[in-house]
């Protein structure tokens, strides 16, 4: 083995161009495989990080997954709300420690506006039960005050003190403005890597106030209630989109879920975030499977190319192998020489692929986060990636046995004088 290694290296260097291209193919396919695995894992983690410490999400009865998607991830829109009375009854339940009412529907320049209460800043947790922190300012206290998510502030360049107006409804341009009731930025949250970063937070009463003179999605003609007068009206919300519930004891979660499902006044449901997330994974599982299969095929193509190159070189190397044999190399050594080459290229490709994946994640990570809200981590490969790497190495080593075995047969048949 000690005699073979320098020989294998020098021989490989002699064929560095074809082997280099093969190495590139293996590297790129490994990068693809690892990149997709990283993306998959980080997307999952990102979803799982978005909400933590919340025992139940309560909303109008419907699809649990949809409830979670719009209440936590601001994806899609709610079709039904739940009444404020129900929300209040929920908060008063003896098993409940805290509730965070959430009301969605408006937006600001494409970013969702969330109506909530100060309980949000107190009880909401993300990631590993981390509380929300303020990068600047403080929670809203007055009526027309807004707290921005980190990305909203950064992208739009807002600072505390800035006055902004909200749009009615979700979506892009051409929305009706709540132009008569501007909001003042009073706080900016520290980055969380979750949908919170993309959200503007206002009080439930403020949300009620800007819609006082609205009906059916449009301002009521001829009616204009100026901001100074809104306090004369009852600003208690009639309904909210969803309520996040924290229980005093996790053990009560299923009893509470049943309690909500049996609620008499209106049809409600309570969803365990983890259960709804696993429904999401099931849904995405097919797409993930396809992506994985494609990247596995790319690796297979890379390794097939490697074997083809090593096998093709074998015919040119028969003389070289015969000389080695005449000078003391055993057929076993010849086998090792060839297998070593394929194995080394696979190993190098795997390591380079890992490096390239890390470089790409570091380089493109900020862009992906800004554009898609997906946090990519360039840290040490997780178990999924290690399995993928191990699989590539194993497949590469097994594939390299083929040229090794062929060289072994040839060197036995040729002896010291290759019949060319």
């Amino acid at each position: 083995m000690r005699a073979l290694l320098p020989l294998a290296l020098k021989s490989a260097w002699n064929r560095r161009y074809s082997l280099g291209l093969t190495l590139l193919a293996v590297t790129l396919s490994v990068t693809l495989l690892l990149g997709i695995e990283r993306l998959r894992q980080d997307a999952r983690d990102g979803f799982a990080q978005a909400v933590s410490g919340t025992d139940l999400v309560v909303g109008a009865r419907g699809s649990p997954l949809q409830l979670l998607l719009y209440s936590v991830f601001r994806m899609g829109e709610a079709s039904h709300n739940l009444g404020w009375d129900s929300a209040r009854a929920l908060a008063a339940h003896p098993a409940v420690a805290w509730t965070i009412p959430l009301s969605l529907g408006d937006s600001h320049r494409g970013y969702p506006v969330l109506g909530t209460t100060s309980a949000y800043f107190e009880h909401f947790r993300f990631g590993d039960r981390q509380p929300l922190a303020f990068a600047a300012g403080q929670p809203f206290a007055g009526l027309f005050e807004v707290v921005l998510g980190a990305e909203v502030a950064r992208k739009l360049g807002y600072r505390p003190g800035e006055r902004i107006t909200l749009s009615h409804g979700m979506g892009g341009e051409g929305l009706a403005e709540h132009g008569d009731k501007p909001f003042t930025v009073v706080g900016i949250l520290a980055p969380t890597g979750t949908p919170v970063d993309r959200t503007l937070h206002i009080g439930l009463e403020a949300l009620e106030a800007i819609h006082l003179d609205w009906q059916g999605g449009a301002p009521i003609p001829g009616l204009n209630i100026p901001p100074e007068l809104v306090k004369k009206f009852d600003l208690t919300p009639k309904s909210v989109t969803a309520v996040l519930v924290g229980l005093k004891s996790r053990a009560a979660v299923f009893a509470m879920q049943r309690h909500v499902a049996d609620y008499r006044d209106e049809p409600l449901m309570a969803v365990l975030p983890g259960v709804a997330l696993s429904q999401l994974w099931e849904l995405l599982g097919v797409a993930e499977g396809v992506l994985r299969a494609v990247s596995a095929l790319a690796v297979a193509a890379g390794l097939a190319g490697l074997v083809a190159v090593v096998l093709a070189s074998l015919d040119q190397r028969r003389r070289e192998l015969a000389i080695l044999r005449a000078n003391g190399a055993r057929p076993r050594d010849i086998f090792l020489l060839l297998a070593l080459e394929g194995g080394a290229v696979t190993l190098a490709g795997a390591l380079l692929g890992l490096t390239l994946r890390t470089v790409l994640v570091l380089g493109l990570g900020p862009w992906v986060q800004a554009e898609y809200g997906l946090v990519l981590r360039a840290d040490w490969p997780g178990s999924g990636e290690l399995y993928a790497l191990g699989g590539v190495l194993l497949a590469g080593l097994l594939a390299s046995l083929l040229p090794g075995w062929r060289a072994y047969r040839l060197s036995l048949a040729d002896g010291m004088t290759p019949r060319l």
Binding site: A3, L7, K10, S11, W13, N14, R319, E320, I323, L324, R325, A326, N327, G328, A329, R330, P331, R332, D333, G415, M416, T417
Partner: protein
């Protein structure tokens, strides 16, 4: 204790698998230590087969090959490989060198695989340098890839490699056929002198009768081999 002959063939027969006629049938052949023997054989006379049998790459159908008292047939394939590199140096007609190795690394090749050759060479690099110098290869060539050398230079590098670590037997299979007549003589002289220096016996195979001058003994395949020539 009488010293065993360097090489002893007894009642040797070789038949390629699937053939009924033997291509080699040699009743006896004996070489003493340090002896220089010229073996004349036209192409197709079975000399390459004979060399493969002596080197232990092929196994005889009948009879035995003994090198330094060791019956090759009694060794496993792996042990035969080790025995060959330990005791036998080989030079072929052409393409002796590994193209991607330097001249020096080519010469050191047997020392990589054989501990005995490595130990007998002492300082292997110094031994290689001495051999290369004796074989008229300028030091400026040593670091070059083998492919940059002329055919004559390559054959001398091959000779240095066959001699390093002082194996007991040197087998040269038409090593001069790629050289012009004037250089053939010069190469042969160098080779014989170096064999004497290192104490190796030389089994020199060629179809050029005129090269047998200077050898202690000359043999002919046609007389050694009882099998009809076409069968080889």
């Amino acid at each position: 204790m009488t010293t065993a002959p360097l090489l002893l063939l007894e009642d040797l027969e070789f038949r390629w698998p699937g053939q009924t006629e033997a291509c080699l049938d040699i009743p006896a052949l004996r070489l003493e230590a340090g002896e220089q023997v010229f073996l004349h054989g036209a192409s197709g006379s079975g000399k390459s087969t004979l060399l493969n049998l002596v080197a232990g790459v092929l196994a005889p159908t009948r009879g035995r090959v003994e090198v330094l008292g060791q019956v090759l047939g009694e060794l496993s394939a792996a042990d035969r490989d080790r025995f060959r590199v330990d005791h036998v140096g080989l030079i072929f007609q052409q393409f002796n060198l590994i193209p991607y190795l330097s001249v020096l690394d080519n010469v050191l090749l047997p020392c990589r695989f054989s501990r005995r050759r490595r130990e007998r060479a002492g300082d292997a690099r110094a031994a290689a340098a001495t051999l290369l110098r004796h074989l008229d290869l300028a030091e400026s060539l040593w670091r070059r890839p083998a492919t940059q050398l002329s055919v004559g230079q390559q054959q001398r590098v091959a000779a240095a490699r066959a001699l390093i670590g002082r194996p007991e037997l040197l087998i040269a299979d038409e090593p001069t056929s790629a050289l012009d007549a004037a250089r053939q003589e010069a190469f042969l002289d160098l080779l014989r002198r170096e064999c004497v220096d290192s104490g190796a016996a030389l089994l020199f195979v060629s179809h050029h009768r005129r090269l047998e001058r200077g050898f202690g003994r000359a043999l002919a395949m046609a007389e050694l081999n009882r099998a009809p020539a076409e069968a080889a």
